[in-house]
């Protein structure tokens, strides 16, 4: 008997033995068998068996008693050939069917059925319940498909677990009708040494609570540009307030003056009124608001000369 598809043999060679082998002990025959089986009554003739096999393209049919679903035997192509040879196509199926059947119990573990398939070389086993009633048919293909389904289920569970863990990263562990975290910073005018600390701290905070590197970077660069503007342009510095919500981050910078004379002009690339001190520090190229706008999802500037400026930026938190 050529075993060109010996699942058992392969398991010991190139399939991950432990997992598949364990599964064959865990899974019951009833979980992987085909329960929808065509059956024929014992009264049918071999000629009708031939017609059923041909029309349904099957090579074996269980014969069950009509009153109960009691399994009486199994008729296969081999039996049909014998009937043809003896020219007895009109004989009852009971005369040719095999009655000494190798069966599998629906409640036994797959490994037992697999052993029986391997040792007999049969392509299929008839599955019966404890009462001897027909429950289904089990092939090696069914076992393979059943193992794959179980592995897939396990894989999906692991994936789900990982996803759950990930969602904890960004605020998901905090439950409220409206959750937000507010970070406030005072920015000193002209302080090029400490300047940038607010942005640095906001970036670190975002990284700590699980923002993606892209999001943290976007917010950091935009906030940094605005922070530098407070240092360069204001009389008395200003404030940076970051409000972090699960779906959006809002960064507001406000100061008490002097204000921007022409907001539209200030938003043009290359326009700058920065001091030579600011230029020495590598800023004042007139790209600050342009850069910030590029990083943020929205950016609004309100300003009035001799009153002050308010810059408001929002960043959408992409669904992780």
């Amino acid at each position: 008997m050529s075993q060109n598809f010996s699942l058992f043999a392969r398991m010991n060679k190139d399939l991950p033995l432990s997992i598949l082998h364990e599964l064959t002990y865990e899974i019951q025959v009833s979980e992987v068998m085909s329960p929808q089986v065509s059956t024929l009554p014992p009264t049918i003739s071999m000629r009708d068996v031939k017609n059923v096999m041909r029309s349904q393209r099957i090579s074996g049919v269980p014969i069950v008693s009509t009153e109960q679903q009691k399994l009486l035997g199994l008729v296969s192509v081999e039996d049909l050939i014998r009937a043809l040879e003896q020219n007895k196509l009109d004989a009852a199926v009971t005369e040719f069917m095999a009655t000494n059947l190798i069966t599998a119990l629906d409640e036994e573990p797959v490994v037992e059925a697999l052993k029986r398939l391997e040792s007999t070389g049969f392509g299929r086993l008839v599955v019966v319940d404890k009462m001897g009633n027909l429950a289904g048919i089990l092939t090696k293909g069914d076992i393979m498909a059943g193992l794959l389904r179980t592995l897939e289920k396990a894989y999906l569970q692991v994936e789900q677990l990982q996803q759950d863990e990930q969602s904890h990263h960004f605020f998901a562990a905090l439950n409220s009708d409206e959750t937000s975290l507010t970070l406030r910073y005072r920015v000193q005018a002209g302080d090029f040494v400490k300047g940038g600390q607010a942005s640095s701290n906001i970036k670190k905070a975002l990284q700590h609570i699980g923002a993606t590197p892209q999001l943290a970077r976007r917010v950091a660069i935009a906030t940094y540009e605005i922070e530098i503007n407070l240092i360069i342009h204001t009389d008395d510095g200003g404030y940076i307030v970051a409000e972090v919500r699960p779906t959006q981050i809002k960064v507001v910078a406000h100061d008490d003056g002097p204000g921007i004379a022409d907001v539209a002009l200030a938003r043009q690339p290359g326009y700058s009124t920065a001091s030579s001190k600011a230029r020495e520090m590598g800023f004042g190229a007139g790209m600050g608001l342009v850069n910030a706008e590029r990083c943020a999802d929205t950016l609004h500037v309100w300003s009035a000369w001799s009153i002050g400026t308010r810059v408001e930026m929002t960043f959408d938190v992409a669904v992780q």
Binding site: G196, S199, A220, I221, I228, G270, G282, F283, M287
Partner: protein, 121 residues
């Protein structure tokens, strides 16, 4: 290109080792921090002749892992400590910005490619 390779190519000095010996894929040279902020990519080497705390901040904000100071400008201890705290590596080159860039480009470290034109005021 990794930090030791870069130092070898420019015959330079590693002043601070980066927190992670990262492989940089591009380099960008500028003295304007705004330009660096505008064009920074992660895993990018930053070449600059500008030495002040904002240089380190700019790299920190932009996820730049390595800064290469050109023209033999050795930064003060304060800046090196800042870089160390931020996990950013610092290198020193005794060549000009032009020559340092040329050596690295010749050794196979690419730039960030063609940029779009932005009309300035």
């Amino acid at each position: 290109m990794r930090v030791n390779e870069i130092a070898a190519v420019i015959d330079g000095e590693v002043l601070v080792s980066p927190a992670v010996d990262i492989e940089v894929e591009y380099a960008f040279a500028a003295d304007l921090m705004s330009d660096i902020l505008a064009f920074a990519k992660p895993q990018m080497l930053m070449l600059t002749g500008l030495i002040n705390p904002q240089t380190i901040r700019t790299a920190e904000m932009s996820d730049i892992p390595l800064i290469l100071f050109v023209r033999g400008k050795r930064p003060p201890e304060l800046l090196l400590n800042m870089a160390q705290a931020a996990g950013i590596g610092i290198l020193l080159s005794v060549y000009s910005m032009y020559e340092t860039s040329g050596l690295l480009y010749q050794a196979g470290l690419s730039g960030i490619g063609k940029l779009t034109v932005i009309q300035q005021q």
